[in-house]
Symmetry: C2
Subunit: 193 residues, 2 copies
DNA sequence: ACGACCATGTAAAACGTTACATGATTTA
DNA sequence: TAAATCATGTAACGTTTTACATGGTCGT
């Protein structure tokens, strides 16, 4: 497997944290990891086949207690080794394509008020995400008896929280600068510089 | 042109700020906009052809004072209108694929110390970028006589500064949590929570 | 049995990068 | 004039999404 086959490594990694079926991987991505990683079905199932062919994962005997069958997979020892090698390599930085920044950069050509609308939506979305993250952080058991993964997961969560706070603060600054509608700008005034 | 043809709109927008050749677009992206937008040559030149065919941009009579010829383009009035329409639409959020977060999330399977290395590099890179951004912000003329674009460009720059500060702070927190090597962690200790 | 959704999968198209080809102009 | 680099372009390839196909299972 080539080093830059990120999809396969991402899936291999997810299976390492917990055996899952293709469907469960999709669900898990959408529910949990969506904030820093996504895969579509068109990627997941072919990747599972390739990983199986390379003996990096293997189908698991499913309990199947009268339930619907979902073929789960788990990494082989070779898969775990391969994962560790990949984790040791410096992460690839994805080329940035920030649509909001691009539109703001071209703000002079935008219709009056359009940018403010974009910023307001962007801010609201991040506020909702931040809220969910804060609740999630509070819900984590205080004792250290959690899984071995917990420490790392909390660092990712912390990243999500801090970055979103920075985005939200910046949105406030932008709205003040661009002169948002009075009802809105009053709430944000204290964040201006 | 379909709404989601971001490459073409990005190039149309860049030409709106200033007439440029394909080569200059590439240069400009790499030097200036690289922090939130990128295009490769394999995208730029075909996009210029398509935009020309659609009469959204037009070749410009180049001064050509004994210099090397570079065919520059500038948007047509229709192009400017099209750009304004696109700017009014809510920006597409690109699906996140944060390689560093993914590797941190799978940290349990990584070889000892590998993640700390990744974080250290990541932090250093962001520190360098932040430094460049701060210098750029200071170099901007204090009087308002700048171009009409300046206000928007400064907001983008402010975003870059704030987000990088958040990343750097988070890196310090991670290094403290993961127990970096003593020489390094001492420097970061004051950021811990 | 019927509709709804679960679960897996695939083909086609869109998107993007890489690596190279080509020729022109500048510089030493 | 040779080397370097400027400037435009394209073909090949890999990746990713989209949209659909297929058939199973569940609730009623």
């Amino acid at each position: 497997m080539s080093d830059s086959n990120t999809t396969q490594y991402a899936i291999l990694g997810m299976l390492a944290t917990m055996p899952m079926s293709g469907y469960e991987i999709g669900k898990h991505l959408r529910n949990t990891l969506d904030f820093f990683w996504t895969e579509s079905n068109g990627q997941i199932y072919p990747a599972l086949k390739r990983l199986t062919a390379q003996r990096l994962i293997a189908p698991v005997a499913t309990p199947n207690a009268g339930k619907r069958v979902r073929q789960q997979y788990t990494p082989t020892p070779a898969g775990i080794r391969k994962l560790a090698e990949w984790l040791a390599e410096p992460p690839r930085i994805q080329p940035p394509r920030n649509g909001l920044m691009l539109k703001l950069f071209l703000g002079r050509f935008a219709p009056e008020g359009a940018l403010v609308q974009h910023i307001v939506s962007f801010k609201r979305r991040h506020e909702q995400t931040l809220d969910a993250f804060m609740k999630l952080r509070e819900s984590v058991p205080k004792d250290d008896a959690g899984s071995a993964d917990l420490k790392y997961w909390m660092l990712c969560l912390e990243h999500g929280i801090r970055l979103r706070r920075a985005e939200i603060d910046w949105c406030g600054y932008v709205l003040d600068t661009l002169g948002a509608s009075p009802s809105r700008s009053r709430r944000n005034r204290k964040r201006s510089e």
